[in-house]
């Protein structure tokens, strides 16, 4: 990473740390299964905004940290977030031009893919299948994407992350 040309890498790291904190912050019982996938959302945003800085390797490391904090098998989130980051990078020029609503739906599809991979892996290692509400985080991702988008865009402009 060429630090002379880039600026504000710390901000990116801080947004990921906040996303990780939101991933383990205790929620009341009724909301336990409806925790939005904050790390996934933040990763997709940065992949769209700064594809030359944030990419597959960032996805992998953040996924590994998610595995650690949530106690899943090491490599599960790393794998799925790697793939999400890869697809986002491949399509970033197209997704950037989408209107916000269409962008949100694309993000939902990416998050569903992320969850689907997680589900496959947990099925392979012999854990039981998922109830319908397993998918709520992706739907919440759809609803939250505009907020996340504007918030992170403001942060990016304010701190001139590039």
């Amino acid at each position: 990473m060429n630090l002379a040309r880039h600026h504000g890498g710390g901000i990116i790291v801080i947004t990921f740390i906040i996303a990780l904190l939101l991933t383990i912050v205790p929620l009341p019982d009724w909301a336990r299964y409806a925790r939005p996938d904050w790390v996934g959302l933040v990763l997709i945003y940065w992949c769209l905004a700064l594809p030359d800085r944030v990419g597959v390797s960032t996805g992998w490391f953040s996924g590994l940290l998610v595995d650690l904090v949530t106690g899943t098998i090491l490599g599960q989130h790393a794998l799925s977030l790697t793939i999400v980051a890869y697809i986002t990078l491949r399509l970033h020029q197209r997704i950037r031009l989408f209107p916000l609503l269409q962008q949100a739906f694309t993000v939902m599809v990416l998050l569903i893919l992320h969850q689907l991979l997680a589900l496959w892996i947990s099925r392979i290692i012999g854990r039981p299948g998922a109830p319908w509400y397993f998918w709520t985080p992706s739907l919440l991702g759809l609803a939250l994407w505009p907020a996340v988008y504007f918030l992170l865009r403001n942060i990016r402009h304010r701190f001139r992350v590039r």
Binding site: L20, W60, L68, V69, T70, G71, L74, P128
Partner: protein, 311 residues
């Protein structure tokens, strides 16, 4: 490349379980995050304690004093019972150790994967915590440690779908395995034959087989027994005694070396079996085979239960 790397990681973590040191090292990175999450709770606790009035503290002190007095009385009785128990066991030519080393730990208020029943406690390898260590609360067995980091460790609860615990019906001595169901208030006992003597209200205690959990701790009470003549086994459901989703203080136990109930039987079979935590449902079925060796003093139907449990 990252896909391959994560696949290798998953295989190594799941199949060979040799990433413990990596996990422990990386958990050091995660520990500050957990501490940050803990912070509001700690601060409010601290404020609550330092700002409470003198009268309130006195009341609390009084109630704790009476509670302690009552428990002391019970302890006296326990001491005499323990002595009597040891004496009787000496008569029977077997040894039994009642006391075990324990350590009180606190849960950290972090949420993990909602589909796994796991908790984080604030003690780690620096306090001699080791993977596989039993975890209790005031009412009964909660689970066991799966990953021990330097300052904090992760434990799996007995209700997790990958967990199986060897238990014994306190009333009859019938031995079986209790599997986690994935629901926080439900354990399943799938290996009880239709003719076994078990009824709702029976207390299940740890049998100590498997060498993981010390014997004699309460695990669950049977809530429903259903006999279906078409099936080989009854459907038995139990509710854990421990307050799995309410406890804040937990006890970590170091089971002594001589805590097995029958030292005169060949212990190596039971001690080498350590499949209490299993990563898959198939492996859960492998847990019972060590039992038939030890079924000498148990009722006859236990033997059939454990044999039939082997797929």
């Amino acid at each position: 490349m990252f896909v391959a790397l994560s696949t290798v990681l998953m295989v190594m973590d799941h199949k060979y379980n040799n990433l413990e040191s990596l996990r422990a090292g990386l958990s050091l990175v995660v520990y500050p995050l957990q501490q940050v999450i803990e912070l509001p709770g700690t601060v409010s606790d601290w404020f609550g304690e330092s700002l409470s009035t003198r009268r309130k503290l006195q009341e609390e002190n009084d109630s704790l004093r009476t509670q302690q007095l009552m428990q002391k009385v019970q302890m006296q009785k326990l001491a005499s019972l323990e002595a009597e128990n040891i004496r009787l066991r000496e008569l029977l030519d077997s040894s039994f150790e009642v006391g075990e080393k324990v350590l009180i730990a606190e849960l950290m208020s972090v949420n993990l994967d909602p589909y796994k029943h796991q908790i984080v406690v604030n003690k780690g390898e620096l306090h001699d915590i080791y993977p596989g260590q039993p975890l209790l609360d005031a009412k009964g067995v909660m689970g066991q440690i799966v990953h021990a980091g330097p300052y904090s460790s992760t434990a799996v609860l007995i209700t997790d779908t990958s967990h199986a615990i060897p238990v014994q019906v306190n009333r009859t001595g019938l031995r079986t395995i209790a599997l986690g169901s994935g629901a926080i208030n439900r354990l399943e006992l799938p290996y009880i034959p239709n003719n076994a003597d078990i009824r709702p209200g029976d207390l299940l205690i740890t049998s100590g087989l498997g060498g993981r959990f010390p014997p004699g701790y309460p695990v669950a009470t049977v809530t429903a027994v259903q006999h279906d003549p078409g099936l080989t086994f009854s459907q038995v459901v139990a509710t854990p005694m421990a307050e799995l989703n309410r406890s804040r203080e937990v006890l970590l136990v170091w089971p002594g070396v001589s805590t097995t109930l029958e030292p005169d039987r060949p212990t190596d079979a039971a001690n080498t079996m350590s499949v209490d935590v299993v990563n898959s449902d198939e492996a859960a079925m492998e847990a019972p085979p060590a039992e038939p060796d030890t079924a000498a003093s148990a009722p006859a139907d236990t033997a059939t239960a454990t044999e039939a449990a082997t797929p």
